[in-house]
Point group: C2
Amino acid sequence: MPLNKGFVLASRPQGAATEDNFRFFEREIGEPGPGQVLVKNLWLSLDPYMRGRMDEGRSYAGNQALDEPMIGGTAGEVVASNDPNFKPGDKVVSNNGGWQLYSIQNPALLRKVDDSKVPLQAFVGPLGMPGVTAWVGVNRIIMPKAGETVVCSAATGAVGTVVGQLVKAKGARAVGIAGGPEKCKFAVEELGYDACVDHRAPDFKEQLIAATPNGVDGLFENVGGQPFARTMAQMNDFGRIAICGLIASYEGAEKTTLSDMRIMLIRRLKMQGFIVSEFLSDWPTALGELVTLASTGKLKWRETIAEGVEKAPSAFLGMLKGKNFGKQLVKLF
Amino acid sequence: MPLNKGFVLASRPQGAATEDNFRFFEREIGEPGPGQVLVKNLWLSLDPYMRGRMDEGRSYAGNQALDEPMIGGTAGEVVASNDPNFKPGDKVVSNNGGWQLYSIQNPALLRKVDDSKVPLQAFVGPLGMPGVTAWVGVNRIIMPKAGETVVCSAATGAVGTVVGQLVKAKGARAVGIAGGPEKCKFAVEELGYDACVDHRAPDFKEQLIAATPNGVDGLFENVGGQPFARTMAQMNDFGRIAICGLIASYEGAEKTTLSDMRIMLIRRLKMQGFIVSEFLSDWPTALGELVTLASTGKLKWRETIAEGVEKAPSAFLGMLKGKNFGKQLVKLF
């Protein structure tokens, strides 16, 4: 029996999360029970939603239990199986393999994937939950028309990476917001954003206005804070706002505020908060499109890889501060 | 030729509107031109949206021009007609007869009405723009299901009056918010609201919580301000918020704020600002339903009537402060 290692949630953050909120564990994983599958987690996905789950309050995704392995999407390989549809060596993705080397899974929650054309870890990134999140926000909430302008914050993050490319595919103008000139350059030169504005620039507001000469018809919000407020002021009549994440406000420091609700009325805006797991019927369509794009080399993305499960907490805390560049992964083996 | 009397917008308000912003006029109306219709305006509707139009800034309904008769829906009678479809004596409703005794109208913008079963002025109230506004917010945005709870502010106003009754017809719980015990009593005893909370009560918050034991699934917002914020805190997962008006914020005194956007995400809310004139294709259906209800005595409403066109400014300013009780009208003749 392999030795499992990973992290449980030790305590709930008071304000900003710290490494002390996680506790390392090491123990035998045990055998899979009847109908279960033992998976070796090769890749762990780190995602902002996890921060919300660490809090005690009512969260959009349910709470992470204390002393249980931290939740996390994983891509891995079947090691032992008591289900006839899975055999050792199969590559599988799970929405909750957790922050650990091994997991025993209910096969109904495993997705078999073909990593012959794209690397396995893409299935927890652009071809997984973050990619489907982008797809749902773009196709089910913003629904950009050709010639419209869509702004996306955290433009080089796991979700924003895909948002820009989906928006461009609709014939709309894609404008990114990202932290720093390096990320902005990547957004434009590699991801195909028409423009990208650095939210740390002192003249952010002027740059945003210059980048959206026809106003903003759609906003894919991943971050919140002041850049959100500034972008709201640029919204056109009948604009759509998909609230996907508010990472700037997750640590309690900076609330994201809509300081004058009249803009919702004056410009007849639609705003919707969403969580991708509640759009289950869209997953096959979204994944089908994304896998096709990726297999033909038409989908670009970038990864930041932390090596070893021990690095999961520090990589996660760094991601909350925007230190990652592209999809944040942990390579477990 | 009859002598026309009415009010033009003399100046734009600085903060709260005052009677000085309006200027009385008296002049001959003139003859209707080719294809036009001369209408004697019997009833003028006073509505909160007019306040927005008085401002210079980008408004949701376009600006009211200075020195032109104030915009306003009217119900009246054809006096002279150069259109074969309209003859003297026909009862007609217009979305812009204006704050005046007579208007020369383009017949394409006139709606002929049958006032044999309901009083003529109902066609600028529950059977007119305010009624259709209620219908659109309920049926196109909130879409209440049986057993859900819908809160409506300004519950005894022209729109709120109809909202409660449409919500009840869907089998949902209707909870009103109104100013003062008399209006709340009327909302429950006459309009059929299941409960009504006085926003002036010192324990408003506790009363609202008591009145919405299962939370709030839909919010029809006409007012804004603190009661809006308190109601938002009661929203259930997947709640819908129709932003119809924010009258508390029209005079610049009190902004309506969403102080923490995370509620949109955590509870996956949908919020939409709307203006009824942009739902043109819904008008026939909505009016058909409302007229049927009214003709069979199933729709209740109440009116506050100011007598004489000279009273229009004071009645309008009073309405902005909630002094009206039910639909605010001016009886012009």
